[in-house]
């Protein structure tokens, strides 16, 4: 599992936010476009790409994209 690839998949869930601003350190809850629908999309993306079932509390409890990556990685 590759961190850069995960960041890219994460960024794909957004429509308005420029892909270039996403890094492993991005605090995604602070992004203007962040919403509960995008949260659900991230859960859907992780299910599709990594076959891992995230819960709402996993997303809520993560600050950076890398935090979430680490959760997914630990469950593969």
């Amino acid at each position: 599992m590759d961190l850069q690839e995960f960041v890219q998949h994460f960024a794909e869930q957004f429509d308005e936010t420029d892909a270039s601003i996403f890094t492993p350190q991005t605090k995604f809850h602070d992004l203007e476009e962040w919403s509960s629908l995008i949260g659900l999309s991230v859960i859907g993306m992780v299910d599709e790409e990594y076959d891992v079932a995230l819960k709402g509390n996993d997303v809520k409890g993560s600050v950076t994209i890398e935090d979430l990556y680490n959760i997914v990685k630990s469950r593969i």
């Binding site: 949260g39 659900l40 859960i43 859907g44 599709e48 819960k55 709402g56 509390n57 809520k60």
Partner: protein, 246 residues
């Protein structure tokens, strides 16, 4: 003794999905108010837990898998003559439209839509529903398009709302049919899932009554629709959502 139109005394009622949540609460409350309950579920242990909580005598439990047509047909053969049918068994899926898979549709529709339609059909075919019987479908407020990520679940429940109205039309005047549309109810169906605890708490505050429902608060309306107190109500879709959609 004064007769109570809200009583289910001497009525036999089949409740699907009785091993947890709204189905379990419905079975327990129906038994309290005098019904003979026929309860079904997939999980023997959990169904037994419900069975043990049923007051009174004459209740029956039947393990059935409503995901297969054979399972539904067998159940329809096994049950006694019925005065009430509560099509409650259901499963949930929370996914944005862009992530829906064909398998998701098949799985959710099989349990939430095909099973109640086929069970109703087989019970009618075998003439198991007595004259004066009442059918209650547990649909959802999601049938009206509420919430995000609910497209598959909501459409599966919208189909049932529509089916209930067709039952009302085709089975009148002998048999009544109504659907109930709960908002969020505190059951296992909604716990520890895609929404965080903080999101859920924020969502509760959007309800006028500032909380989600309790399973028995849905059961009480099921009882009303099964009872003679609702003898002139058919084809109705009853929303019970703590004022969320006002």
């Amino acid at each position: 003794m004064l007769s109570n139109p809200f009583s289910l005394e001497s009525k036999t009622v089949l409740i699907t999905g009785a091993s947890s949540g709204i189905g379990r609460a419905t079975a327990i409350e129906c038994a309290k108010i005098g019904a003979h309950c026929v309860i079904t579920g997939r999980n023997q242990e959990r169904l037994q837990q419900t069975f043990e909580q049923l007051e009174g005598q004459g209740h029956v439990q039947i393990i059935a898998d409503l995901a297969s047509q054979e399972g539904i047909q067998t159940l329809a053969e096994q049950v006694p003559q019925l005065d009430g049918l509560v099509n409650n068994a259901g499963i949930n899926l929370m996914k944005p439209i862009g992530f829906i898979k064909g398998d998701d549709l098949e799985k959710i529709y099989t349990t939430n839509t095909f099973a109640p339609i086929l069970l109703t059909k087989f019970l009618l075919k075998k003439k198991k529903l007595n004259a004066g019987a009442s059918i209650v479908f547990i649909s959802s407020s999601a049938a009206m398009g509420s919430g995000i990520g609910n497209a598959v679940y909501g459409t599966s429940k919208a189909a049932i709302m529509s089916f209930s109205k067709y039952c009302a039309r085709e089975l009148a005047p002998k048999i009544r049919s109504n659907s109930i549309h709960p908002g969020m109810v505190e059951t296992e169906l909604i716990q520890g899932r895609e929404f965080s605890d903080a999101d859920m708490e924020a969502d509760r505050q959007k309800y006028l009554l500032k909380r989600y429902g309790k399973p028995e608060e849905i059961a009480y309306s099921v009882i009303f629709l099964l009872s003679d107190a609702s003898a002139w109500i058919t084809g109705h879709a009853l929303v019970i959502d703590g004022g969320r959609r006002v």
